[in-house]
Assembly symmetry: C2
Homo-oligomer: 319 residues x 2
């Protein structure tokens, strides 16, 4: 412990996995910030950070929040965070922006709103952007969630912008998934039905003070009733004044308890997802670097070799 205190006093970083374990257990903001930066940048130290973090996960409730731009998603997350703080729960917020470099700036702009909680040590906010790199966003998101969980956050909110497939992959990491809907979007419900039911545990119609809210809620309820498996709960909120937010928080907590058991089970599921993602990424790299790739491609183009056979040959060798 003296070592850790010294490390913190001198602004030095923990180095070994054991050091990180102790540091994360203190749950300090500075440690958390540094640990996440290392993981996000895939720094050499990230390995020790994550080795430590993953022995400490299984405490946090992970809530995924997604929705189309304009639905008031960020305001709702802010109101939800305030509600959790009133309940004396510590919170980590991870804002994930899967957008391309072409739109990234604008979408990240509304992060500024979270500054309401800037002075509160019980709220830790971080943004992750894809910056045009291919893949890996869902993987690093899972790792950052693990770090926040390990540092003792009671609830981790993963907020994504409702565009692209990556947001669906990201919400896969959550124990409970909330989709935020804007009033007047009722017409799109039919088309979007399959997709919504796939990813939502709770469907929230935000801006419920606007006239089309009732129609949108009715359309969502109707769509929800068609799905296989359990239908998502449909709720109304007015994020700007907090209406419906305590009820939403209750509902999320209740679903979390009903869901597949303990927080530890959630953490295990999250890690399995990361392992599978990492394995797929390694396999992709091997296939890409395979010395026979050009020959296999040539054989397929000549009609001599089946495509599926060629693809499986790319990964059927031992490393």
């Amino acid at each position: 412990m003296g070592r850790i205190l010294r490390a913190i006093m001198t602004n030095a970083l923990p180095t070994t996995s054991a050091d990180w374990t102790h540091a994360l257990q203190q749950g300090g903001r500075a440690t958390l910030a540094r640990a996440i930066t290392m993981v996000e940048n895939d720094a050499p130290e990230a390995r020790e950070v994550l080795r430590a973090a993953r022995t400490l996960t299984g405490h946090a409730l992970v809530v995924g929040v997604t929705g189309a731009p304009g639905a008031g998603k960020s305001t709702l997350v802010g109101a939800y965070v305030s509600e959790l703080r009133r309940r004396d729960l510590s919170v980590g917020v991870l804002a994930v922006d899967p957008s391309s470099p072409l739109t990234g700036g604008a979408l990240l702009g509304d992060r500024i709103r979270m500054l309401t909680h800037a002075g509160d040590p019980g709220v830790f906010v971080r943004s992750l952007a894809s910056r045009g790199h291919l893949g890996g966003l869902a993987r690093s998101t899972g790792a950052v969630v693990d770090v926040m969980d390990a540092a003792g956050r009671d609830v981790v909110v993963v907020e994504t912008v409702g565009v692209g497939q990556s947001e669906i992959e990201v919400t896969d990491l959550a124990d409970v998934r909330v989709v935020v809907w804007a009033p007047g979007a009722g017409d799109d419900v039919q088309a979007a039905k399959a997709g919504i039911l796939e990813i939502a545990d709770v469907l929230v119609v935000n801006k419920a003070d606007l006239p089309p809210a009732a129609a949108t809620e009715a359309a969502l309820r109707s769509a929800a009733s068609y799905g296989a498996g359990r239908a998502p709960t449909v709720m109304r909120t007015i994020a700007t004044n907090g209406t419906g937010v305590p009820e939403m928080a209750d509902q999320i907590a209740e679903l979390a308890q009903q869901a597949s058991g303990s927080r530890a089970a959630g953490a295990a599921r999250r890690l399995q997802r990361q392992l599978v993602d990492a394995a797929a990424m390694v396999a992709r790299q091997r296939a890409q670097d395979h010395s026979g790739l050009a020959d296999l491609c040539r054989a397929v183009r000549k009609g001599e070799l089946d495509f599926d056979e060629a693809a499986s040959r790319l990964i059927s060798f031992k490393a």
Copy 2:
């Protein structure tokens, strides 16, 4: 050949790979439409269709067009298609919408504009949407491009909405990549710099009749000059009246000639990409289904096993 004619007369489909080869070589719209539908739906027949198609690729110039919503991208694609038709080139347009179910409907709406070319057999338009399914969009896009190429289209335009990582993956399939920019977006250039330079061969400032166009063009030129490798060409267009579009078509054709050699090389690169994607997908499935996944996950959470080691064990066995 009698067999093919009979098949077409009776509305029956080719069945063997050899039949499909003949059918695709005719380049008929009905054959093309059916072949693409099979590939898109991953129908059992898709395998024979693609086996045939891939022996016929290497003719088409594949142009990727992307950009933020509102940049006038679809109008520009329409004007480019008209220009190609004036040059007597046959065109295939593949509009790829990598958006989630939450926004899908709206983004696909502007496809209707392509109906200008509805009566022209030299223009074949198809939309591909992700429909909330995970992954596979870039892979099926490559396959559909192969079918259009095999059916003799001179130019295949792949148009994507500038959101999400998938659009970057999709433009990877192109020989020449065009990014469309709206005037007034100059402020975002700095932030977006790295990403743009990564994916663009041609940067087009559309709506060049709007006052901020000159400033946007200057900002893009400045940003372009910082990149590693060859800087993208910056051009101005007014898609609604065709201004600058012939010059853009010339520039694309010239870049295509300078680019890594022949159309056959482009087709080979596209197929390699599809093979690698398919291999990664197979590996992911294997990892997911691995009987030891839960045990490996448990060992990592106990700190007994390194994450990377666990991930590589998931794919190090023979199928």
